[in-house]
Subunit: 309 residues, 2 copies
């Protein structure tokens, strides 16, 4: 029996998934885990596209309505060949997030290479040129998500250090004067044994500013005898002390249910990398499904805030 | 047969170990892995002392000749109870290194807690008061060693991120404007499969400035069917571009051979955390043996430099 979680009431777009392999104008294996933002009146998605060799790159898609996207005919960010980046991106660039800060768009992504994974940061003003800024973390760290404002004079980022080779993975928060040098790291949220995210937690979508705090969707990973289940919770962080959790949902609020969320290269994964708050209070959540396609669900921000309190 | 490596010619102090449990004026399990420096005409060792509960703290010892040390009658650095540090040091503070920079003494150490290990940095001017500055890294990172000068306007540190849960461990180099925020990280040296440090490499002693480059003793870990062997190599880093290796020893140059290096809580470990270059070119290398005591060996710096070239 398919259980539908009614609280808070997410609505899946009826024609999900909105982007799948057939929408990419060049050969690839899959497309999933897309960053999202609005820029100059358009909706922008930055797609993780896995090529036929299994290596991921990032490709742009644009839309007027946030539903029907036109995908670029070529990749936008390929793994770098610059010696400062090459070894660390050799196996691909993955799972982007976009955060607008002071008029520019910052893109965090997972750099994957033979040493492990790191959080890379790049920048664009117009989604035309892409400028790499740095690899911000050491190795074995991913799911980097920037806050849309400096807080206390510093850039703020959530990351997921550790959590590899079967270890537990926690959400950490770090601070930077310049986006390049990071410090002041501390644990923000850690899995509850036996819970829906008992193995790993990681930030998903860049924080959305609300009157109650910074709203962040995050994923929890639960191991089962037949693989992992990725599900989504929400947390509220204090606006001025973002290392303080003001509230979080007492259970997951979004989980794989539909066939397109359960069937794919990596079954039972919903993984939002982008959430756009519309003026009417609707959040458009763009999420990868089973590492195979991109889907859209909407929810009212007040319903999510209520669930966090 | 006991093989003695003749090149470069290390000389072990004949009455090794120089400090063992019986020299600590309070009950403990073992003492090992001591940082070393000279301060106001004295030799200083900062000892890692493992208490009877298995938790480590740091205790000072002082000497006029670098051989006979007087150990303080109480710990100098205990795991912190400050909420910013407490969870990360809950299981102990370990493996200190001392680096003198611009007249102050900076102490890097391994903070060990339920989330894993991190590199902590503290400061003293006189080995009287100890001031914590920060936890400089995320989790799963240790063997932090600071350079004795800023290079290109930045503090420089070697660390060993990753390398846990059976993963390979590499030596990385990072940069900081203020000792608190770190970035620009890159891999410096990585294990050679099948070699003497095939599982992990980590910096041991703070870099010593020589005309040929920064001289660093590092450890290599090789797994065997009956545990690990820790041995020591040396590398030379470019004075202005310390991320460039100018030379390194083609083999380990110091290894467990004596009974006191082979027998103890963790057999077959030599682990220097301090090296003092004397005016006559002698390096006094203080090294933990089998996580059980502290020993001293000397070597001429020119012989080590020759071995690196």
């Amino acid at each position: 029996m398919l259980i539908t979680h009614k609280f808070p009431p997410f609505e899946r777009y009826e024609n999900n998934p909105i982007i799948s392999r057939d929408d990419i104008p060049y050969p690839c294996n899959t497309v999933f885990n897309a960053a999202a933002c609005r820029c100059m009146g358009k909706y922008i998605l930055l797609l993780r596209v896995e090529d036929l060799a299994g290596r991921s790159h990032l490709t742009l898609a644009r839309s007027n309505d946030g539903i029907n996207f036109q995908v670029d005919d070529r990749p936008w960010v390929m793994p770098s060949e610059d010696p400062l980046y090459e070894p660390y991106e050799r196996y691909g660039v993955e799972d982007p997030r976009i955060t607008a800060i002071e008029g520019a768009y910052y893109i965090t992504y997972t750099a994957f290479g033979p040493y492990g994974v790191r959080v890379g940061i790049g920048k664009t003003n117009d989604f035309s040129t892409f400028e790499r800024l740095c690899l911000a973390t050491d190795v074995d760290n991913k799911d980097g998500v920037l806050f849309p404002e400096k807080i206390g004079g510093k850039y703020v980022m959530l990351t997921r250090p550790g959590g590899f080779a079967g270890k537990r993975g926690d959400i950490w928060i770090s601070f930077s004067p310049d986006l390049e040098h990071w410090g002041g790291s501390r644990v923000l949220m850690t899995p509850s044994p036996g819970g829906w995210g008992s193995q790993k937690l990681g930030a998903c979508t860049p924080p959305i500013k609300t009157e109650d705090g910074w709203l962040v969707f995050y994923h929890g990973v639960k191991p089962t005898g037949s693989g992992r289940i990725y599900r989504i919770g929400a947390m509220l962080l204090d606006l001025e002390k973002p290392y303080t959790i003001r509230g979080y949902t007492s259970h997951f609020i979004f989980a794989p249910e539909m066939d397109y969320e359960r069937i794919g290269d990596v079954p039972n994964v919903v993984f939002p990398c982008g959430a756009i708050l519309e003026e009417d209070g609707t959040i458009k959540m763009y999420y990868g499904v089973s590492d195979t396609a991109i889907a859209l669900a909407t929810v009212n921000v007040q319903d999510v805030l209520s669930a966090c309190r």
